[in-house]
Symmetry: C2
Subunit: 600 residues, 2 copies
Amino acid sequence: MVRGTQDGGVTPAAASGRPEGGWRRHLPILEWLPGYGRADLGNDLLAAVIVTIMLIPQSLAYALLAGLPVEMGLYASMLPLLAYAVFGTSRTLAVGPVAVVSLMSAAAAGQVAAAGSADFVAASILLALLSGLFLLALGLLRLGFIANFLSHPVISGFISASGILIAASQLKHILGIKAGGQTLVELAPALVRGLGDTNLIVLAIGAGATVFLFWVRRGLAPLLRRLGLSPRSASLLAKTGPVLAVAVTTLAVWGFQLTAQGVPVVGAVPQGLPPLTLPPFDLGLWSDLAWPAALMALVGFVESVSVAQTLAAKRRQRIRPDQELIGLGAANLAAAVTGGYSVTGGFARSVVNFDAGAATPAAGAYTAIGILIATLALTPLLAFLPQATLAATIIVAVLSLVDLGGLARAWRYSKADFLAMLATVLATLGVGVEIGILCGVGLSILLHLYRTSRPHMAIVGLVPGSEHFRNVLRHKVLTTPSVATLRVDESLYFPNARMLEDRVLALVAGNPALKHLVLMCPAVNHVDMSALESLEIINQRLKDAGVTLHLSEVKGPVMDRLARSHLLAELTGQVFLSQFDAIRALAPEIAAAAGRTAAA
Amino acid sequence: MVRGTQDGGVTPAAASGRPEGGWRRHLPILEWLPGYGRADLGNDLLAAVIVTIMLIPQSLAYALLAGLPVEMGLYASMLPLLAYAVFGTSRTLAVGPVAVVSLMSAAAAGQVAAAGSADFVAASILLALLSGLFLLALGLLRLGFIANFLSHPVISGFISASGILIAASQLKHILGIKAGGQTLVELAPALVRGLGDTNLIVLAIGAGATVFLFWVRRGLAPLLRRLGLSPRSASLLAKTGPVLAVAVTTLAVWGFQLTAQGVPVVGAVPQGLPPLTLPPFDLGLWSDLAWPAALMALVGFVESVSVAQTLAAKRRQRIRPDQELIGLGAANLAAAVTGGYSVTGGFARSVVNFDAGAATPAAGAYTAIGILIATLALTPLLAFLPQATLAATIIVAVLSLVDLGGLARAWRYSKADFLAMLATVLATLGVGVEIGILCGVGLSILLHLYRTSRPHMAIVGLVPGSEHFRNVLRHKVLTTPSVATLRVDESLYFPNARMLEDRVLALVAGNPALKHLVLMCPAVNHVDMSALESLEIINQRLKDAGVTLHLSEVKGPVMDRLARSHLLAELTGQVFLSQFDAIRALAPEIAAAAGRTAAA
């Protein structure tokens, strides 16, 4: 069926994709809670149990990575999960502490306070508050597109470099030595200097746990399947590996009284509900931490949205990025007022939550309850948990994030993307996480500007037997000396406006027979004032040289804008709707030849 | 005559416009000196006399504006002109001190040394050296495109604001008071506070000279024409106005012994050849001044190239921007080693040089000789030249640069350009020249990124009777529910990659009958790695939804790049050379209907 636009086809409303408005759109819980049924409950409870078992060691370990008391990891895994369940749009995202954001939190807090001090803890809580406010503001103002400036190579390079940094920072716990440093440049020599002090018992625990956890990742699930479990059960059961490692090493430390041998343990952890906390109101501190908090929020958001979108697509669900900002913002605010620290959606836990069958965000709420029970019941047992085990948990988790093969893929596809990624990796490893990401973003923008400042332009001719025009250098096309068509493959704006002048004048100087020049503009998405002035200059200079300037295939939005200038009134030639119209008017013999060729 | 590409038409060589290579291209003097004739000599000598008469008061006045001893203005008007005559490509550009660069030089030197001190003079000379080295480097590396980042609205706003700042800074000389300050915010209150100290004799000289010079601009040429002179002679003779003002006020001060009445004069000026100077070799100072020197170089270059191109086009000559960098760089180095300060091509003087008939850069060399003679002969007379007269010369010259009407034009054409221009004007007036220009450039870049981050996309249909596709919302076109064509009006790169995902998924969700989605890419000039990943995700998600993804009108360079990725292998649909090919294959009834409509 063939239709005109008026009676259907693709309508603009169908294409806009805006969800319903009003305050209800900010409470996604209203979309699923009314229809919540018994089947959902069963699925969500099972997923919550598995995620809770996975989250206990992770929340302790990431708090350690963030330089905080381990209980703050537990606190960050309660109220924030409830807040996300109310405000988040992903059905399966598992919110809580994650490795990369924990590293960024440690780096940012370390810039304003000594590691381990009360000020350091206060700064970490403030970072969660500021991140939360920033995310909320972006969500309410619908400014989520800002996160898009973290390009794929930059994020990918940043995550890989962070993984390496984190693993390196945990080696000291595996060796049982002291070694400080925020960057690989500082960490590596400190580790080498400390090697002599290695505590062999700590090393045995740490290396043993690491090897065990790697084996759990690779070997346990196949073993369980051979023992007769279904693949899904085997895979989920294998997630209990870290808890097993924690239990065994804690028992060993307790049973053999290894604390007397200098094995560092987590120590006394306060038992009970999360405290109510308020971050310090110190304007100087707020402004010092605002920028790192914004970066942490953006990095956390990008990672979280990416995993949420991937999982949603598998079940034909959709997430709303602007509402995700609000959900993650609420989760961070919840962390800040209950003694937690910065949280976001975690990649590995979300995948486990999804695989375990979580049907609604209620699974996150049940996980929060699970963590609460664990905090109340298990904290006395944590006193003998060796830090080396937590370090092993972290190392095994983050090394799976490292994907330096992305560098090779970027090199093959685009040297600019490769450069941005390499700069991010090197600056993150060598200077620090904030500089690393800013370096990558800045270089991405500069390389983009450089590329658009030297636009590709092609002389085009008519493809025989069609109304289509292609590059004379790439295709066998029809041209005539009196008419030249220059296709400009870039928006015309200040970085490239003067280059267009040069190119056109060179073209005219090299073609004495030229009578008409057509600028073909299907790829010109914008003409700014600098380019407008260049076009006016080109028009005037061509007029002086006896050459008529025409435009073709000017886009609607560009035409609207040009109509507000003097260019169209002063243009020596015409504006053609299509390039074929231009050739039919200026060189009818070419149009006819194309037709003849088609008939032949 | 109709030809294929192979046998002529527009050839790529003709379109490249590269001038001849080798070292000779860096010595443009070789292009005109061998053919230099008697007629050229006459023309150049006349132009040189007129420009010299104009340049004497200007060079003294601009040195005063730069906070330097007046003789440095004369020194900057000798060897630099010879250097430009050897290395510059414009036949008519008049190089020397100019107002805006003098203001920038004063601001930059004032940041590292007290005004009037020997360090201040040394810093000003160093600025010329650094600007010269920067320009030379850009020219040799062919990096002149960097200047393009100074967009038209930013330069225009900067020049206007600088004109206002300069005029305000000279008011104290007209009033005979002390009033310091680098910005309008500092200058205005200082002037108001000082009003009570106004020296009425100074005011009489200054205001008299200002009114006289304004009348010379507007009224003298018409008067001379009425007295029987040819329009050209009248116009050129009117340029002697400033020299007349200098002579009359100097005589008045000398005759009436007005220095005893507190009239500030230029005072003793050393007579003789320019000294040989070497800027201080102080690495800290070099790094402090590197950035301001680069900005001065870029601003001077943009202004100079713009006037040079305008004048060259009037005589069908061409200038080579990369060689202009070398010419201006050599001129600044020449200034730095002979006691001068930063120079560039001046707008007003170049126009006068052109109008007076200058035929070759030799006119500049003769001007340098004229200034040398003046320095040797006239400097004793300058002792009684009142500063108020020089201030009047500056004010009348710079007020012609102020064009705030540009703000209104920018507002009508583009709000983004308006914002960039307004920010430049306000920051230049309120904070300073360097911040002003950096503000404008930064905002221009941010606004560009913001715009490209939300690209225009249009659902298009076939224009009846053609093979052309246009927006369904703007044109009456043919569509069918099973095939949607989305034209993406922007390069696909990291700021907008995820937006494309959202748009496509919304489109598919809103059209249950959809079987084929064609992404029409004539405006997609680049696909970076972030966008490549988005395209792969879109392809996968559409596959899951039973929709085939096709591409059409993908540009050659983009296709080359995509061929290095997995996208084309995994694409569910095809890549069509033209959108009409796509419709003919996917919805032949639409293609046929278009043909029928054409036949009807």
